[in-house]
């Protein structure tokens, strides 16, 4: 398999992992909105309320930075990093 094909396979793997995490916190947990309501969440908020105001939002921020770092590692591994920039 060519270097480029391997790179793309790993990139695609990372995409699926990222989208899986995204799916859980944007869609999956809200299937159980009513069930999570009576559970206490961080800082004493009801869990569903916390996810909608802070939890999911914050997880998305962290997820994007994590994704960006992993993708950079993949690009480096196969020597596809851009030259001469920040």
């Amino acid at each position: 398999m060519s270097k480029q094909a391997q790179h793309w396979e790993k990139t695609r793997g990372l995409l699926f992992m990222t989208l899986a995490i995204w799916f859980v916190f944007s869609i999956g947990i809200f299937l159980f909105g009513a069930e999570m309501e009576s559970i206490g969440g961080p800082f004493g908020y009801p869990l569903t309320y916390w996810f909608t105001c802070q939890g999911s939002l914050g997880i998305f921020v962290i997820l994007i930075f994590w994704f960006a770092n992993r993708q950079e590692k993949i690009d480096e591994e196969f020597g596809f990093t851009e030259k001469g920039d920040d």
């Binding site: 790179h7 995204w22 299937l31 800082f43 105001c53 939002l57 997820l63 960006a68 990093t81 920039d85």
Partner: protein
Amino acid sequence: MIKGNFIDNLPRVYGIYTGGFLAFIIIMAIGEQMGMSSKAIGICFVAFTVAIYAIIGYLSRTAQADAYYVAGRQVPTVFNGMATAADWMSGASFVAMAGGIYFKGYGYMALLVGWTGGYVLVASLLAPYLRKFGCYTVPDFIGTRYGGNLSRLLAVIVLTVASFTYVTAQINATGTIASVALDIPFQYAVYVGLVSILLCSMLGGMRGVTWTQVAQYIVLIIAYLLPVFWISNKMGAGFFPHFMLADEVARIGELESQYGFVKNSAADLATVPKGLAGITKAHSAVNATPWAFISLALAMMMGTASLPHVMMRYFTTPSVKAARKSVGWSLFFIFLLYSSAPMLATLSKLSLIDPNLATGIIGKSISEVQSIDWYQNWNQANLMFVSDFNGNGTLELNEFFMGGKAVVLATPEIAGLPYVISGLVAAGGMAAAMSTADGLILAIANALSHDLYYKIIDPKAETAKRLVVARVLLVVIGFAGATIAAMEIQGILGSVIWAFDFAMSGLFFPLVLGVWWKRANKEGAIAGMALGLISGTAYLIWVRNGGSGFLGITQLTFGIFGSAVSLVSMVVVSLMTSAPDAATQKMVDEVRVPSGKSILGKQH
């Protein structure tokens, strides 16, 4: 004071700017103590900030195509994040979001999840690859990847429909704020707002918009967070509201069950001024079915990834790597405001309904409430209303009505903050609406000038001529938007949500499959864009005219239907027609790796 390259000095330039703005707030506060009228403070805030944006717009003037279209591709990651956040957070986010949460609770908060989760799709599916492509506009990608003028033209049409729906709402918002702050009639204020918007973008194109958006982000975030923290501390609710309002949320639930949600009769409701609403839904309890919540969030997420004015911000970063990181920063800066909106809604609601607080009005006598200063002010502005429906002389929960905007605009005054904060909030709302309007008008004008005029009509045009066309279009589109805004056809929030649905119906799958599915071809993309947009629009018209809809898809989520049609037709038509040629396949391969030359040259 400042030496060398502007880009290298950005932190210092914006540091000085932020310090200057804080100093300006303090000067206004002193002015207020010395007897400056509230009207003068409002005018100073709006005029001062708009003048600064205009100066930045003038200093960013350019005669080069790549500076005009993509800010020379040298905007650093963090600053592009701020500019995107300002580009993204519109007048609706700033003025209406806290109000939406206040009135509708959980069901509305699907928008918070949707408008942030969409950035994960932007970062992982699209932004870095479109940056590598080297395009100036989103239709530029579609037109080059799939080939042919028809695909390019369809992309321009979808972009124009979605962005234009969105931009009228933003010009409307600038008009509303300008008319309140400057005390002029709305029909004129709309054009004052428009001129301010054009001052930022006309001379410098994307470069001017980028540097004004960073300045606008700084103003809007200070204007949003300062009152939230101040009110929370003043009420004794907590030093850092985001982590400390659990007791307040619980207390609202307690009061709600104590008062109960009494339903008003239709005859009583008919006496309430249009646009005002009472508290009829629980603050923190789950009040929407899973599908209602998820479908709205999903539509907003896919719409986010298809809206061209957001995507084109990532064309301005120096590299593919920077584009990815920049999406993270964008969402971080958006998160700062979005996570504060529910806190503001909580503080606002509790301060109004808790009888143990000095500001609480529920349970007081109607005549007492009617004599409060702030009630009279906001009642006159048509944003607040009380009525003694049951005739017991006391204000009940179901007898108090408020406009959605009042949560952001009136809460500082209700909580007893000095007027200078209200002036600051007006400047913040203006910044939010202006920055989004600028991004949208520029997206439309650039697509029409670059893709329609230069690529389709006159490919031999010189740079100078192209940029003149671009600027003329900018003004024409701005005036068209302002004219429609002045007619006040739709509400702000409804038309914003429609824009997302239009964008996802026509563009989501043609963009995503353009990168992720090599087999996608021109015929498929054309079918996907055309049928997606047509079926989405048809569904909207059907539901608007009394159609029952299906699968729980409403007029706010019609993009789910449109994009499903788009996906199916794109895949089927692509497979029925021949695969893209070798050159196109090679192009897709090159887009997928960050290194090497971009597909389109630096000047094209």
